[in-house]
Symmetry: C2
Subunit: 177 residues, 2 copies
């Protein structure tokens, strides 16, 4: 197993309100140098919640994603706020985006998006034993809530607007439990 | 179902060799305006390959990810080059990273990473009927090839260095096929 490369220098080469791009000079244990870039996500990570209601429906939301310029069907998700643990952040996001809370919420896995160039991580949560409670969110328009029978996963995977790798990983992890 | 928001203005606010950050002014169909940012990935997308050998082992590679500053175990992957289709790019990446080609390579799904702020997409491929063939890659150090029995997926998911959402989604999709 290779020894970790040494990070010789990091430098912020561009930044904006949400993102920061760093250049990184590395030396690998074999003596080879590399000059790479990476994205630094400002914040405390994110949560994504697979919430399952009493009738075995998945609670999905339809939300506009300006990265791909289309509406995407996905599990509710959002950024963690300072001081929140994953379960607290997940409960808040659920209430904001679906109008439900949960008495049984737990961490399934923590995933990375692109470990080669991005430090971002998302906690994938499973929520059951739901109860109605709405919190106001900061969305520019109300999200559409879509109840999807957990028995009909094939049809969900066949859709061209259910594309997010995190949502797909979370779906399969929930099905195993 | 909501009508798509109108994109009023986009502007590059920061850029580097690999990334570009854009600001986007949007007007939602309810009249609410939003000012967001998004990442533009330069290039042609990426491929990730679940290759399964004749003994039902998954071919994984251990590679240093400077985004998370650790070695990660993941399926071989890489950027598509200009003019390549997903199968051609996958075959090249397999040969570079694992030393194997495939006579049976197909697309399982195309996934997004973060549709809310990133235009990136990755084609998840399944490769079988392997044969040895090595192409030189551009890695600063040789990648370690790890053969993982497909019957031992639980142990793979329990590892703390198998975290990539794309790899996890691809694993589950391959298991269904």
């Amino acid at each position: 197993m290779n020894k970790k490369p040494q990070i010789l220098k990091t430098e912020t080469i561009a930044s904006s309100r949400f993102f920061e791009i760093e250049s990184v000079d590395l030396r690998f244990s074999n003596g080879v140098d590399a000059h790479w870039e990476r994205l630094i996500s400002r914040g405390h990570g994110a949560v994504l919640i697979v919430a399952i209601d009493a009738d075995d429906n998945l609670l999905l939301v339809r939300e506009y994603g300006v990265g791909v310029e289309r509406y995407e069907l996905a599990f509710p998700k959002g950024k963690m706020e300072a001081g929140e643990d994953p379960a607290q952040a997940a409960l808040r996001e659920m209430k904001e985006e679906t109008g439900y809370g949960s008495r049984d919420i737990r961490l399934m896995q923590t995933v990375s998006l692109a470990p080669g160039y991005f430090n971002h991580h998302t906690h994938l949560m499973l929520a059951r034993d739901l109860y109605p409670e709405k919190l106001a969110g900061d969305e520019p328009e109300p999200l559409e809530l879509v109840r999807w029978p957990i028995t009909d996963v094939d049809a969900l995977l066949a859709r061209d607007d259910f594309t997010e790798a995190r949502s797909m990983a979370a779906l399969f992890l929930a099905l195993r439990l």
